[in-house]
């Protein structure tokens, strides 16, 4: 793979040089009246709608949306290489786990010179902390994924169940379901979804990375981590939940047939459920995730920020687009039909609730705005991500797939992942104290 890539890269060099020469010969613009064209790379649904709506309401900037592969499926690598090659797009979508990696790899430029800091108080503290790294702000949060639980309202009513509000109740409910309805389980514990594992650990009060000491520290096995892991191990061991890849064929079949009653996820997942089980419109409800004994808390699962790569030529205009996406009700409306992500900007939440319920009949009646709002207010603020999370997530999926379902499986997976991560970070050139 590698060799083939670089061979292609070498063939491209003369072409690039020719293109640069041509570009430098080009006639300079005729002044202020020609709009600046921005390239916007993302893969999330609604990106085209965003660009269209922005273009319809702005004269001096034209945004061209280019769909790239999902970040961890090649999109991030594409962005990284584009920046290295000096062909950076103007705006990119970056999920929170990848921001520290992108900053340490010098992929993004700080947005401080373009007035981003004035916007800080419109975002939850924890979300702002995800984009403010090393004293500068590298992205503007677009949407967030406070953890919620989707449940089948019709089947809950039919089986005489109420949505559990604590993890203890969740277990009792799972026992009832397993005892009274053979073949049905309360939920599926995703074995291939590192971000969800992290979100659940986050909700339990874990903190996997800590940069506070001036060096990276990794801890996936603290008390909170052990509690969350032990809880799910017992549910899996006792056969109270299934443990399968999320939204893989088997899981989708379970959802469609109503043999898996809940999905632990984030608001954006509603669109996925809609896609995989379109016939089940009107049969889902949303509630905050069950709580640990300390009281309601949430983690974050997904969501992304918009950022400006290094080498992008129009950071000022890029910032204007980003600001519009992240702060304007218009942008919320533009994507409401196709994307159910919760907006990061706190001034937009009410607007968002009305907009998605009006635009998307599948979501209307779920009570999603209330559940998501409650979850968003209780996200544990201390969480940090490490500097190599694409690799970190891949390895976590490896460990989870290998260990979940075995005795002490989740704890073993997390312990092994922690060791591998420390090792990987050191090999990668970071200092990780003992």
């Amino acid at each position: 793979m590698f060799r083939r890539r670089s061979r292609r890269a070498i063939r491209i060099v003369p072409l690039l040089m020719a293109a640069l020469l041509l570009a430098s010969c080009a006639v300079p613009g005729t002044g202020e009246d020609r709009p600046v064209t921005l390239t916007y790379w993302s893969w999330t649904s609604g990106s085209q709608e965003l660009a269209d709506r922005f273009n319809a309401t702005h004269d001096h900037i034209r945004v061209t949306f280019e769909k790239v592969p999902a970040g961890t499926a090649g999109g991030y690598s594409k962005m990284f290489n584009a920046v290295k090659a000096g062909k950076a797009p103007d705006v990119v979508a970056v999920e929170y786990p990848q921001l520290p990696g992108f900053v340490t790899q010098q992929v993004l430029q700080p947005l401080d010179p373009y007035g981003v800091t004035d916007l800080g108080d419109q975002y939850p503290d924890w979300a702002w902390r995800q984009v403010a790294l090393g004293g500068q702000v590298y992205g503007l949060p677009m949407n967030i994924g406070p953890t919620v639980m989707f449940y089948r309202t019709d089947l809950f009513a039919e089986y005489g169940l109420t949505p559990p509000t604590t993890w203890e109740e969740f277990r009792t409910t799972a026992e009832t379901v397993a005892a009274e309805h053979p073949g049905v389980t309360l939920t599926n514990f995703g074995t291939n979804d590192a971000a969800l594992l992290a979100g659940l650990a986050w909700q339990a009060g874990a903190r996997w990375f800590d940069s506070g000491s001036g060096h990276w520290q990794v801890d996936a096995t603290d008390e909170a981590g052990a509690r969350f892991a032990g809880y799910w191990e017992s549910l899996v061991d006792d056969g109270l939940v299934t443990a399968r890849p999320t939204f893989a064929e088997q899981h989708v079949t379970q959802l469609q047939q109503g043999t898996s009653l809940t999905v632990l996820a984030a608001p954006w997942t509603a669109a996925n459920i809609q896609r995989f089980a379109p016939d089940l419109a009107g049969r889902w409800g949303a509630a905050p995730l069950p709580a640990w004994p300390e009281g309601p808390a949430s983690g974050n699962y997904g969501g992304s920020s918009l950022a400006v790569p290094r080498g992008a030529d129009h950071p000022e205009e890029a910032m204007e687009f980003i600001r519009w996406v992240s702060t304007s009700p218009d942008a919320v409306e533009a994507v409401a039909q196709v994307n159910t992500s919760y907006p990061a900007n706190t001034t937009l939440t009410d607007h968002w609730g009305t907009a998605i319920e009006a635009a998307n009949p599948y979501v209307a009646g779920m009570d999603l705005p209330a559940a998501a709002g409650a979850a968003a207010r209780t996200v544990n603020p201390a969480w940090e991500w490490g500097p190599d999370m694409t690799e970190g997530f891949a390895r976590l999926v490896d460990e989870a797939t290998a260990w979940i379902g075995r005795p002490e499986g989740i704890r073993t997976a997390l312990a092994r992942w922690q060791d591998a991560t420390v090792d990987q970070l050191r090999q990668r050139g970071f200092t990780v104290p003992e």
């Binding site: 793979m1 590698f2 060799r3 890539r5 670089s6 061979r7 070498i10 063939r11 961890t72 090649g74 690598s77 990284f80 990696g101 900053v103 340490t104 790899q105 010098q106 790294l133 090393g134 004293g135 074995t191 291939n192 940069s211 001036g214 060096h215 990276w216 399968r244 890849p245 893989a248 064929e249 088997q250 079949t253 500097p387 190599d388 694409t390 690799e391 891949a394 390895r395 999926v397 490896d398 797939t401 290998a402 990987q424 090999q427 990668r428 050139g429 970071f430 200092t431």
Partner: protein
């Protein structure tokens, strides 16, 4: 050759022109070869001698430092790399003899009795090769996934429970995909070589009373040694490059294939997950070296055997 008479035509004129002709004929090839093959290899080699270092948390970005053999030490002590290499070697050990034996057997069959159905089998055997590896892997992943696979359902009906994607079985499942994919192609290669075997030798064997089997094994096979050698060499190198099939199986989830299961997958993960091109280059160079050593060994062995 040694006994052939020396050519009678004058050689003085051609001798002066020959170097220039050679340059014209071979030059373009070597230029392209150097540009598209040697240069990237050299670049990979150079990359593998450097690494990145961060200070503190690393917000200020990496500095590139000369690493000497550090990356190679890292790879050669990296359990992921070592088990991955062991895995592809084991895979090759099962896959190469299997596919070569099957291909030779089928080619010999095609070449002998079944003349009538030859064209039909030709096509049937070659068909899987037309299916791109990616698609083949996806199709097979379906056949291997419990709950989707009619094969698993059928086996369950017979009371047998098989986990095609778990534990060590997955290696055999991958061998199966590879055999399915490449058998026909190898059969065609060997069969073409068999067509070039002089009919007279086969006829002579037959007159001497050799049956089909003896003719095939003792007369035809020794004459296509060169083709068999090439087929074996390609297959060995191919098996070291194992990537597409395990990558698909891995991304489908529910298998014991990890994201760094083979050295090529490790290099891919280093380059495209971690942006660590230095380590990716190191792993690539090591795999290239291993392929070189194996090819050399196979060549040596083949030559020693074919020597009188």
């Amino acid at each position: 050759m040694a006994t052939a008479a020396p050519p009678a035509r004058p050689r003085a004129a051609t001798r002066t022109r020959r170097p220039r002709a050679v340059l014209w004929l071979l030059g373009p090839f070597f230029a392209l070869f150097a540009l598209t093959y040697i240069a990237p290899m050299g670049y990979a080699l150079v990359l593998s001698l450097y690494r990145e270092k961060f200070t503190g948390i690393g917000w200020d970005g990496p500095t590139r430092v000369f690493a000497g053999a550090e990356n190679y030490v890292r790879a050669l002590t990296d359990p992921t790399f070592l088990t991955g290499t062991g895995r592809v070697l084991l895979y090759g050990l099962i896959y190469v003899p299997l596919v070569i034996t099957l291909a030779a057997a089928l080619a010999l069959l095609l070449d002998s009795a079944l003349t009538a159905a030859r064209r039909f089998f030709h096509t049937v055997l070659f068909l899987p090769h037309i299916v791109p590896g990616l698609i083949a892997a996806i199709v097979w992943v379906y056949l291997y996934t419990p709950g989707l696979s009619p094969i698993i359902d059928g086996l369950e009906g017979l009371g047998a429970e098989v986990d095609f994607l778990g534990g060590n079985t997955v290696l055999l499942s991958l061998v199966n995909i590879a055999v399915w994919q490449s058998l026909g192609f190898n059969v065609v290669l060997i069969y073409v070589a068999l067509r070039a075997v002089p009919a007279s030798t086969v006829e002579a064997a037959r007159l001497d009373g050799a049956g089909e089997l003896r003719t095939a094994v003792l007369v035809k096979l020794p004459q296509i040694r060169a083709a068999m050698f090439v087929v074996t060499l390609f297959t060995i190198i191919g098996s070291l490059q194992l990537f597409t099939e395990p990558q698909i199986v891995q991304s489908a989830g529910n298998s014991s294939v990890t994201s760094t299961w083979t050295p090529n997958m490790l290099a891919y993960a280093a380059a495209f997950n971690s942006n660590d091109y230095h380590y990716a280059a190191t792993v690539s160079v090591l795999i290239a070296a291993l392929a070189g050593v194996l090819s050399f060994t196979v060549t040596k062995l083949a030559h020693r055997r074919s020597a009188p």
